[in-house]
């Protein structure tokens, strides 16, 4: 089981800020494929992953990173701080 977090417009499109998800996905890309297959709103939200960023256990990472031992995956659009 992993925690999946969503921020900004991704959170709004999916409709929830956080969920627990049972997965055997080997990489972030595999996880995204699983999520896309779940429901229309996920398919739409993850339509273009090049416009998204991912953090694994609160460290910025990449979509081809492995999920071994990861407990928290966060998806979000490019940051706009400062």
């Amino acid at each position: 089981m992993i925690d999946i977090l969503y921020f900004a417009w991704l959170r709004e499109r999916i409709g929830i800020p956080k969920e627990r998800w049972e997965t055997e996905a080997a990489t972030v890309n595999d996880l995204v494929a699983e999520l896309r297959a779940r429901e229309e709103r996920y398919a739409l939200a993850f339509e273009d992953v090049s416009s998204l960023r991912v953090a694994l256990d609160q460290e910025l990472s990449s979509f081809d990173a492995p999920l071994d031992g990861v407990r928290e995956v966060a998806f979000f659009p490019p940051m706009t701080g400062g």
Binding site: L5, F7, Q58, L60, F76, M79, G81, G82
Partner: protein, 148 residues
């Protein structure tokens, strides 16, 4: 080093005084403060969302790295989240170093980092609309300049 992520309003001048007093004798202090702009006079609020678990740790790591790289004696980062009104301060960065070019470069770099890598997202709320601010390519480019 002081890293603060808060909803509350803060006073950049007062923060600069506190920061400067703590680094007395260091030579050069640079500060940057960002203010909520209302370019078209129609902004009700700026809403800032952040990734609570990640924000402070990510900022601390980056400030520590910047301190080592630019020889900074001290670093201050304050960033607000929640609902902000036009003209309110959003965030500030202050750096102290023996030499002015280091203090300038450290603050400039930390701002580029904050713009593109710190987990904050801004939404502009106007009468009848609420729009997520889009990331700017110029900010990505500015950050990339430091690794050239």
């Amino acid at each position: 080093m002081r890293i603060v992520v808060q909803e509350a309003l803060f006073d950049p001048g007062a923060e600069l005084s506190t920061f400067s007093a703590a680094v007395a004798g260091v030579g050069a202090v640079v500060s940057f403060s960002g203010i909520v702009r209302d370019d078209h006079g129609d902004l009700d609020a700026l809403e800032i969302e952040h990734y609570a678990g990640m924000t402070e740790r990510a900022l601390s790591e980056q400030a520590t790295e910047a301190a080592a790289h630019f020889n900074l004696a001290d670093v201050l980062v304050i960033h607000r989240h929640g609902r902000l009104s036009p003209d309110e301060p959003i965030m500030m960065v202050a750096t102290a170093a023996a030499h002015r070019k280091q203090a300038f470069a450290g603050a400039d770099f930390l701002m580029d980092y904050l713009k593109s890598r710190a987990p904050f997202w801004k939404k502009e709320v106007r009468a009848g609309s609420a729009d997520w601010v889009e990331a700017k390519q110029a900010d990505e480019d500015a950050l990339a300049e430091w690794s050239r």
